[in-house]
């Protein structure tokens, strides 16, 4: 769906994106994570033909970008950074205007498509208010609706849940999963770990313009071969499994063991009370912190950020 080869972008002497080889398959829910200023937005803009690469190649749905970007854009719904609309017009008028601006948006179905998109994002009851009277969350929903009006095959979303409350975030996540099940490929960038962790099947992690990790989320989060045990009888557990206990924090023990179920059975046989037991998985947060450096919004003295 999206393939890039050693994609690089310089802004003056700043390297915003540095030899990125991205691979997004059809049907993926692909999440780009990374600190602020790590090049996520520049990447998204290059995929959409807004920013021209310094070197490297981009292919979206089999077409060269930016040369043939006009052929693929009609099938892409995009939200780049914050949504934008003409403030003195209503939300509906804005959607109609953007739909009419592009090529061959069938006029006969426009009204229906707009109603449909508004309903999907939870703005079906939208009134005659101009967009300047909208709240941040409503604007965000309107921006998503604009991306959905053409029923795109590919959604490219940069920070799609900005400004939404927890319920809004949940609504949008459910919507994206539903669209994905219906065959839409979803590519989103975010600095919110939770958002990506809950939504995406594949992740790419950006740092200083480089794509440092690209893998299935399930692969990244395979068990570490350790089991976490929470027990009021922590002392007994420690004595029993001496040599296998890697660390202990009060009632919580990290035990080197391949099978949590097996260990649980063993503890219960010995009459040890267990509050909680399960295989240890690395959290996405740990992975991201391991592979990334400080974001570009943090400028420490000793080269915490070279950019």
């Amino acid at each position: 769906m999206i393939v890039t080869h050693s994609l690089t972008k310089h802004f003056g002497h700043i390297v915003a994106v540095d030899s990125v080889d991205l691979a997004v398959q059809e049907g993926d829910r692909y999440g780009i994570l990374g600190p602020n200023g790590s090049g996520k937005t520049t990447l998204v803009r290059m995929l959409l033909g807004l920013v021209y690469a310094t070197s490297g190649e981009i292919e979206v749905m089999g077409q060269q970008v930016p040369r043939h970007v006009g052929r693929v854009l009609p099938e892409i719904g995009a939200l780049v950074e914050e949504p934008a609309a003409y403030p003195h017009l209503t939300g509906r008028a804005n959607l109609a205007l953007f739909d009419a601006a592009g090529p061959s948006g069938p006029k006969s179905t426009r009204r229906k498509r707009i109603d449909n998109a508004l309903e999907r994002v939870g703005l079906a009851g939208i009134d005659r208010r101009p967009v300047k009277a909208y709240s941040l969350g409503m604007r965000q929903r309107l921006g998503l609706a604009a991306a959905l009006v053409r029923s795109p095959r590919l959604l490219i979303l940069d920070e799609p849940t900005n400004g939404l409350d927890p319920r809004g975030i949940r609504d949008i996540r459910d919507l994206l999963i539903e669209l994905n099940k219906a065959g839409t490929t979803i590519f989103l960038s975010s600095h919110l770990l939770g958002e990506v962790e809950h939504l995406c099947t594949r992740v790419g992690i950006f740092d200083l313009g480089r794509l440092v990790v690209q893998a299935e989320l399930a692969t990244l989060r395979t068990p570490t071969g350790r089991v976490i045990v929470d027990s009021p009888d922590a002392d007994r557990v420690a004595a029993m499994l001496d040599g296998h206990v890697e660390s202990r924090d009060g009632a919580r023990l990290v035990v080197r063991h391949a099978d949590a179920a097996e260990l649980n059975a063993q503890l219960v046989r010995e009459g040890v009370r267990v509050v909680e037991i399960g295989p240890q998985r690395r959290s996405l947060e740990q992975i991201v912190l391991e592979v990334t450096s400080a974001g570009s919004d943090q400028l420490s003295q000793e080269g915490g950020s070279s950019r």
Partner: protein
Amino acid sequence: MIGVELYKLLRRPRTWVSVALLCALPVAVAIFVAVTHLAPPPGQGSAFLSAILHDGSLYPAAALALVLPVFLPVAVAVVAGDSIAGEATTGTLRYLLTRPVSRSRLLVAKLVTITTFVLVAVVAVTITSYITGVAAFGSAPPAAVGQPAVQPGGSVTSLSGPSLTVLQLVERIVGAVGFITVSMLGVAAIALFLSTLTDSALGSALGALAALVGSEVLVTLDAASAVRPYLPTRYWLAWIDFFRQPVFWRDIQRGFGIQALYVAVFLAAAWANFSSKDITT
């Protein structure tokens, strides 16, 4: 795309505010003159203004002469300077381009929209000032001071003396409206070009106005006579030649030519810059 841009122009409150302001200036002048009967003597002040006390139907010409030097170029520079930079600032530019709208089409649509705006503004000034003029001064009075006598029966005196029939007058006014509209396109093209350079609508509008002021200074400077024929404002006043009998075509043709040149050069520059630009807003 052109339809979309026109819709945006017409639905924008600013468009109508600026047109209303353009129409308000001649109305205000007419009220002052009508109340005081103090028109500038012939040959002084704004063109045609001296004649209006005696023939209100000449007032559209006087009104165009009033708004042409400053008001109209300011309005055009604001609209044209905002065209790309304004979309960039609100962020709508990136959504238009990913619709997709090709960058060249967007530029052409913007230029067509600006032209429409100028035409609407000039026509609005013409119509409102005609109504104002006839209401304030009446039409076809018996004689004109400083001019050969006007023929009875609704005819109007041309600047050169012989009278014009109503049909001729309408033709001349249409010609003048067309010429003034075209005269503004040079400014519009400069502002549009600057609008692709910067994301500041204000900056590009002021830049275009600076170019105009510079041009007006050089037009009056004898030492700059070598470049004078190429200045964008050099032939601005040539629309007055439509009211001569017969029409004095030389400056009118040159005026059209120089504006066409400015539009071609700056539209090409705007295209070259915009089509290779990174859209980072």
